[in-house]
Point group: none
Chain length 264, copies 2
């Protein structure tokens, strides 16, 4: 149904919607009473407006009005709460692969952050990461030397990326790397959202003695556009629940070992 198809003399509804969205993007939230007063219409009308806009996912309705979906909330902090338990298990399994004295690379992402949190009992490690949160956390763990890779910060990942990051990475001799990924595609490969991300992970596989992907179940069978180069040379994929047999088989054909964290 298109509200714009007809143009009555007083085309008030679309005008209200425009104004509502404008206010929303300026202030982050609007109240029904405030809008009803402004347009001089009843509260019910405003609520119907908000309902329509909400159906189009233009805003979220709250008691008393409406609010923008992501006012100023970092994407990361939302994602980090999803499947927190699974990520913790993966983190522990991953940390179990690390031996004292190693040089460890930690990719950006919420699952690798869980690995960092599970690493607090290890000693005498050199950690290399592009993630601000991982660096901030691990630098306070005694006996850990943290090297932050520089570069332009991607707000969504809260991590450095780009040419400077690739450049800095290349200087390290890494014993073990833990990498995130956008998806574990049905044909058993890790794929990514962006060219830069895929490239960075592919390079790290080549650079590190052993490279493990850490992926929670929400990534299974999804499809993202970029294949990670060198994927078949990765040492393993650490997950929190058993994937479908077909997926597990596809993965094993590629090479990397499947490690299911909840068996430990």
């Amino acid at each position: 149904m298109s509200p714009v198809s007809r143009l009555p003399a007083r085309a008030l509804a679309p005008r209200r919607h425009d104004e509502i969205l404008k206010r929303l993007s300026a202030q982050g939230s609007v109240s029904v009473a405030e809008l009803a007063g402004f347009f001089d219409v009843s509260r019910e009308t405003i609520r119907r407006d908000l309902k329509m806009l909400s159906d189009q996912s233009m805003l979220g309705i709250v008691h008393g009005g409406a609010a923008r979906f992501e006012p100023s909330e970092p994407a990361m902090s939302l994602r980090s709460r999803e499947n927190a338990e699974g990520k913790t298990m993966i983190g522990k399994a991953a940390a179990g692969l690390i031996k004292d004295g190693m040089v460890v690379f930690l990719d950006s992402g919420t699952t690798t952050l869980a690995v960092a949190h599970a690493m607090t009992d290890l000693r005498d490690l050199t950690v290399c990461t592009a993630s601000l949160k991982i660096a901030l956390h691990l630098c306070h763990v005694p006996g850990m030397r943290v090297h932050m890779l520089g570069g332009e910060i991607d707000p969504g990942e809260e991590a450095a990326s780009g040419i400077d990051t690739l450049d800095a990475m290349a200087r390290f001799r890494v014993d073990i790397a833990f990498l995130g990924g956008g998806a574990l595609s049905p044909d058993g490969e890790v794929t990514d959202f962006t060219r830069a991300g895929a490239e960075q992970r592919g390079r790290m596989i080549a650079l590190a003695g052993k490279a493990f992907f850490v992926l929670d179940a929400s990534k299974f069978g999804k499809l993202t556009p970029l294949r990670v180069p060198n994927f078949e040379r990765a040492a393993g994929v650490i997950v929190d629940v058993d994937p479908a047999p077909a997926l597990a088989e596809a993965l094993s054909r590629k090479g990397p070992k499947l490690i299911v964290a909840n068996l430990m």
Copy 2:
């Protein structure tokens, strides 16, 4: 725009939550009484708000209010509480020197972090910093491009330092730089605790179009071992209270202008 200037007659719950989180990230903690007064609602309502945000792990509730989560960081978080008000004033004064479109360098330290917090209303800036916290904060401000300088992380400063950092710094063309320092010595010079810190600041003075030191009163008249090279070429020193006349005079003889933040 001052956050205290507007008084929403009756705020929507999400609007309160936004403001609470904003204050929290700016000041580190909020009190129930202060918020109840600001929003003109009862303390119970504020407590319910804090409970909700706490359930979402957005903050921690303490007696009398709420505090930001800071898992484990002894050094920095203690220092940032010291003279928080003075640092906020310095931050505002410093931010006032920045024009939209500039390339800004922010040194590590608690006072420069206050500058970063005062920068949220500026737009179209490129910010370059070695501080993890500053990068993490500013990367979520719309219209800001943040470049993190890589290097080994100093846990006390929560910032990168060392040869890699100096190296990365040299690639930037910086319009304005805000630098911390260990002390403002009695003879009117900024001095530092470490060779690496002094060297890094000295280089930035040479590199930046204008370089300002930001120092709160606790640094006055102290003595630390390393002189900052090029200090006389710095544009100014921003402080929160008037220093002793002898100190002010010594400083003015060196060259940099003295800017006292509380006069603004």
